[in-house]
Amino acid sequence: MREVAVVSTAHSAVAATTETPIETLIPVIDAALVAAGLERRQVDFWCHGSCDYLVGQPFSFVSAVDALGAWPPIVESHVEMDGAWALYEAWLKIQTGEADTAVIFGNGKSSVANMFRVMALQLDPYVEAPLGPDQIALAGLQARVALDAGVITERDMAEVAARSRRDAVGNPAALVSGEVSVDDLLAGDKVRDPLRHHDIPVMGDGVTAVVIAADDAARSLTARPAWIRAIDHRIDAQRIGGRDLIGVPSAVAAAARCGLGAGRIDVAEIHAPFTHEELLVTRALGLDAGATRINPSGGALVSNVLMAAGLARIARAAESILDGSADRVLGHATQGPCLQQNLVCVMEGACWVPCVVPSSVSARPTTRVAGQTCPSPVWCGRLPIGRLRMRA
């Protein structure tokens, strides 16, 4: 496996814009490239996540290539999904050896239609879609199952909302933020019983862009890359009535494939547009909310840019590695109604190659060498930290 890391990120989100998707895309892609110190012609692979249903226009994603400067021709791909899955494809592309650097972007313009209605069109067209549920009603079904099973409470859900809005203060991409009491939230009306306003995401128009790079390219682009140590995605059955809505088996499976059990997770960014979804995913991933900081960005609840919000979770988690505030983080993304499909991405600040404590260093070294300490709890967190031998 090649070492692949997130080296830079950029975001935009507003409640509604009259720009074209391309006009919104270009400054964000530029910002991610500038942060990485890359020129467009140095990008080996571009991968885009979006959904034509959002625009109501078949093949609308093709025009996004216009944002990239595709002459002379570039290597480019698209997934009809959240940008998190575009990141998965780009990671695979780098693993093949055909690319060393990639730009991934997810974008959505939620303001052009009732997206809760639009997103429900992904239901099977014969049995479920004709019933006309919207995405909030579907989420309500799942929340009801979990509430009645005693797995979560309405207070738990309100606490997720209060914490998310509090954490969103200072996040320029957040569309709602501030202090609010759980009791006040619980006093609110129900929009789709059992969901209240605070359980439902604030929709946005925007973009998330991420630059990833392999091996020495990553090391040359940033001081502390967020190395992707594991990434996996799994899917549950399509029919809402045909799967375990509480256990979220696809999230459990993806987490197991990523070896999530091994070691501490400092920060987890969970893609949960609805409050109960955060609780269910946290449970499925086996995260300890006491040891792991959940959604310090405020999450998709405060800024739900469709097709970007999942990639944004990976980006936000990576940012806490890039800025040195965390050592091992998790980004999660979901697609489909009621957490149908789940992607887990584990990133670390430590290099892929296990650090080696040279034999000349005593068991308990007295000095740390700046820039050469390995913070990974998996590889050497419990070892005395000494001089590290990084791959040249």
Binding site: E19, G69, V118, Y126
Partner: protein
């Protein structure tokens, strides 16, 4: 098990979604220009090409946003290539044969599609100079249909080498 009911071979499940589509900042300038009978493009700050219409608001060659300033182009232009439509099809509004042309408006670097009329299809040629024919002003909207068609302007033909870079 009785199976007297006939198989269901077809169902109808009408679903509608309404979208409020916006043209974008730069294309809006172009569309508002048409309301005043002006043909407004935008210039790429990187390669200096003038786009008319400014489409998504960017230069796809360079991957940068087009400049904010309007660049008035035309109204006359040059036929860079054309196609004679001979075959009738469903929804056709004009009786064949007629000519669909790519017209490079003066000052623009990207050709636009429009109808060419008031000329025999056999007389149309690359390099031919054309002028717009506007619909009555009362019928104008933010649409290129304000120009019903182009017709020969009578100016001398343009040499191929003058538009070879804009084909």
């Amino acid at each position: 098990m009785s199976n007297e009911a006939e198989d269901v071979l077809r169902i109808r499940t009408p679903i509608g979604v309404e979208y409020a589509w916006s043209a974008g900042t730069r294309s809006s300038a172009y569309l508002n220009g048409l309301l005043e009978g002006k043909l407004l493009g935008k210039r790429c700050p990187s390669c200096s090409r003038v786009y008319f219409p400014p489409r998504n608001g960017n230069c796809p060659m360079c991957g940068v946003l087009l400049g904010d300033d309007d660049v008035e182009v035309g109204p006359n232009g040059t036929v860079t290539t054309f196609c004679v439509v001979n075959v009738p099809f469903l929804g056709q509004k004009i009786t064949p044969p007629y000519v669909a042309a790519t017209i490079l408006l003066d000052g623009a670097d990207i050709g636009m599609q429009h109808l060419l009329q008031e000329v025999d299809a056999a007389d149309v040629r690359m390099g031919m100079r054309v002028e717009p024919v506007w619909a009555p002003r009362d019928n104008w909207g933010p649409t290129m249909e304000n120009i019903t068609h182009f017709r020969p302007s009578g100016e001398p033909d343009v040499d191929y080498s003058d538009y070879a870079g804009q084909l």
